[in-house]
Assembly symmetry: C3
Homo-oligomer: 132 residues x 3
């Protein structure tokens, strides 16, 4: 697998990693299949959303933070139960289709590393699976 | 990959696409492996839930809309930040196991295209991956 | 595919199945690829979160139950619309990378069967897909 490094600078932040994932697909030489993207952290996730207007990912993050506030009646003593909860809601893995060596994404789609407990140095693991 | 067309008629709507996915598996001749289902939109998603009582998907949609209301303090000017948020919560991709040419689903499970900003003409992309 | 049995004892409960999944990978002889984990139920899901402090999964469950309460204005007559909704939020399938015959997980990650309508006897289906 390939290991991507992601540097986050905010507590909650969506970072567009589409180009890095495309580069992995090329380095692995995958022409046709799927790419499995996996986040090895329990306070982050991986998602796909609009990459045209940055207000979209702002609104998504902000809505998640309204639903799952930083401070609340949590038991876990590290003060990041909100981050763990968002991680399970958004999820740690995604699969994207690859054809002719290119990620197949909709017109407005970008792949985002979803940070919920930054700033931190993070990783994203990428595995290519051929369809034949 | 195969491209399915889905026509939605409501702003929020779950459409059962299980039979269409099964047909893709047959057309691609997959006997044994997984099928990766991918929604190329940022205001829709893909999910699995009960297909026996339509009240179930009604309640799921309705609960999501209570948590993430259409109108609120959003920045994105197009009035569909709720749809984008639900898309990230439900997710754009799912993998289902295939054995002997058949989708492996639980007794009550159906695969649903989850529309969050309809009515629209939508697509669903399907890729089969053999297990050997 | 392999079928795991999971016995839950609470209505809402996260059960760590990491070791059972690792055993499936070994029994199937997968060295390099992905393992697709699928829950064939509509009132349960599969997630990954911290396995060190049990307060983390307690907080995740508790927060989900605050957002989606057991009793509310639901149409579905069986009294478990909350369980169905949580199932769609958490999701029924996950893919995890395998290298050298080992599940690739972050330091703090465990794989959890997420029960939302227990106690019940449940299953988890596991399919291995090689990367070449």
């Amino acid at each position: 697998m390939k290991i991507l490094s992601v540097r986050t600078t905010e507590r909650n932040q969506f970072i567009d990693i589409t180009n890095q994932i495309q580069r992995c697909v090329e380095e692995e030489g995958l022409q046709d299949g799927i790419v499995c993207i996996f986040v090895p952290h329990t306070t982050a996730g991986i998602t796909i959303n609009e990459d045209a207007d940055p207000d979209v990912t702002y609104d998504v993050q902000n809505t998640l933070s309204r639903l799952v506030p930083h401070h609340g009646s949590y038991r876990h003593a590290e003060g990041n139960s909100d981050s763990h909860t968002k991680s399970s809601i958004i999820g740690p893995s995604l699969s994207v289709i690859v054809e002719n060596g290119r990620l197949q994404l909709g017109t407005w789609q970008g792949i985002y590393f979803a940070e919920f407990d930054g700033p931190r140095s993070r990783q994203c693991w990428v595995k290519t699976i051929p369809s034949r």
